[in-house]
C-alpha cells in the first residue's frame, strides 16, 4: 500500500514538473531580471563575473541569509554531537598511500581554494566554491589521520571575524550610501585583480567563513565517537 502510494506520488510529482518545464520553453525562457542585470552589471558593480555580481551585489542580503543558515547548521551539528570524552579511541589511521596523498593534496587544495576565492569577481568561482575547497583541504587530512585535531577555537575566531567583516562592509555601505551591501569603492578596470570595489573583499570574507564553518562542521562529525556497533 505504501509502495503504491509513493509510486503515485512520485509520478504525480514528475508530471507536475514536466508540465512546468513544458511551459517554460527550452533555450528561450523569459529573463526579465536576468537581462536587466546583464546589461547593467558592468556599470553597477564592475565585476567581470556577473554571477558573483549577483551573489554579492544584487542579492547580497540573501547571501547574508544563506550564510546564517550555514552558521545555524554548523552550530547545531556541534551542539548535537557534543564533545568527545577524554581518552576515547580514535578511528584507525589511513594507510600509507592515503596519508601521503593527503599530505600532497593539502597545499594544492589550499592554493586552488585561495585562488578561486580571490579571483571570484573575474573567473568562475567565488567565496562559496573556494571556501568549500579550503574546507576540503583540511578535511582530507582529518580523514587520512583521525588522530589529527583541528583547533576549534581558532576556527570559531576566523569564522566570527569573517562574518563580522561581511556585515561591517554592508553597514559601511549603509552609512555611506544609504543601502545595505551596496558596492562601494572605486570600480577600477574591468578584469583587473584589484577591481569591482568591495566585491573581492566580500568574496574573501565569505570564502573564509564558509571554509572555516564547513571544516569545523566536518571535523566535528569525524571526531565524534561512533560508539559500538
Amino acid at each position: 500500500m505504501r509502495n503504491i502510494a509513493s509510486l503515485v506520488f512520485s509520478f504525480g510529482l514528475a508530471f507536475l514538473l514536466l508540465a512546468i518545464a513544458a511551459q517554460l520553453g527550452f533555450g528561450h525562457t523569459p529573463m526579465i531580471v536576468g537581462s536587466g542585470i546583464l546589461t547593467g552589471a558592468e556599470a553597477d558593480v564592475g565585476a567581470a563575473n556577473i554571477v558573483t555580481a549577483v551573489v554579492f551585489g544584487y542579492r547580497g542580503f540573501d547571501t547574508l541569509g544563506e550564510l546564517s543558515i550555514l552558521f545555524a547548521a554548523a552550530t547545531a551539528a556541534g551542539l548535537v554531537l557534543g564533545h568527545r570524552r577524554l581518552g576515547a579511541a580514535d578511528d584507525p589511521e589511513g594507510g600509507l598511500i592515503l596519508r601521503a596523498g593527503a599530505d600532497l593534496l593539502f597545499p594544492l587544495l589550499l592554493l586552488v581554494g585561495v585562488y578561486i576565492v580571490i579571483h571570484g569577481h573575474l573567473t568562475p568561482g567565488g567565496g562559496f566554491q573556494g571556501g568549500v575547497i579550503l574546507a576540503a583541504a583540511f578535511f582530507v587530512s582529518v580523514i587520512a589521520k583521525p588522530s589529527l585535531r583541528l583547533n576549534h577555537g581558532a576556527i570559531s575566531v576566523i569564522e566570527g571575524l569573517a562574518g563580522a567583516a561581511f556585515i561591517l562592509i554592508g553597514i559601511w555601505a549603509l552609512v555611506e550610501d544609504g543601502s545595505f551591501l551596496k558596492p562601494m569603492l572605486d570600480q577600477g578596470v574591468l578584469g583587473q585583480l584589484v577591481s569591482a570595489g568591495t566585491m573581492p573583499l566580500l568574496s574573501s570574507a565569505v570564502g573564509l567563513k564558509v571554509g572555516s564553518e564547513l571544516a569545523g562542521l566536518l571535523a566535528h562529525i569525524s571526531e565524534s565517537e561512533a560508539g559500538e556497533p
Partner: protein, 159 residues
C-alpha cells in the same frame, strides 16, 4: 511521440533525479539512505533551476571573453544554485550529525528496529507493559520484543 531532443534528455534527467530522490525518501527504511535520497532529489532540483536559465547560442555570463553584445545565459539561476549547493552540504552534514547521535544511542539506523527500541524505551520509562498500547498491531511482532535498555546495557552502549 515525444521528440528525442537535447531538451527532452536534459529535462528528463533533472526530473528523473527529483523523482528518484522522492521515491527513495519514501521507500527506504534506512535513515542514511533517506539522507542520500534527499541529496539526489536536491541535485535534480538544482539541475532543473540551472536549465531554466539556459539559452541557446549563449555564452557564460563573464564579461571580457566574448565579443560585446553576445547573448549570455541568465545569471540569476546560476547564483541561486551556487549558494543552494553549499547550503545543501551544510544541511546534509547536520543530518549526518543527527544520524551519528541516533546510532550512538540506539546502535542502529534501520527504521523498524529503531522504532521498536524507542517504543521499548518509552514504555520502560513510563512503567507500563509494552503490549498495553491500544495502537499496537495485532498478531505477531516482526521483531522479538527485547527491552531496548537491557540489550544496550549488555553491549555497553551509553543509553
Amino acid at each position: 511521440m515525444i521528440p528525442f531532443s537535447l531538451e527532452t534528455i536534459l529535462y528528463t534527467g533533472a526530473i528523473g533525479l527529483v523523482v528518484i530522490g522522492a521515491f527513495g525518501l519514501v521507500l527506504s527504511t534506512h535513515l542514511l539512505r533517506m539522507v542520500l535520497a534527499l541529496s539526489v532529489a536536491e541535485a535534480g532540483g538544482n539541475v532543473l533551476i540551472v536549465l531554466a536559465g539556459y539559452r541557446g547560442e549563449a555564452v557564460a555570463p563573464i564579461l571580457g571573453y566574448a565579443a560585446p553584445g553576445t547573448a549570455m545565459v541568465d545569471p540569476v539561476p546560476q547564483a541561486l544554485v551556487l549558494t543552494a549547493i553549499v547550503i545543501g552540504v551544510g544541511v546534509q552534514a547536520l543530518a549526518v550529525a543527527v544520524l551519528v547521535r541516533i546510532y550512538r544511542a540506539y546502535g542502529t539506523l534501520e527504521l523498524r528496529v529503531l522504532v521498536e527500541r524507542m517504543q521499548g524505551e518509552i514504555s520502560e520509562a513510563a512503567g507500563i507493559p509494552r503490549s498495553s498500547s491500544t495502537h499496537a498491531p495485532a498478531g505477531e511482532r516482526p521483531l522479538p520484543p527485547v527491552p531496548a535498555l537491557l540489550s544496550h546495557q549488555a553491549r555497553g552502549v551509553r543509553p
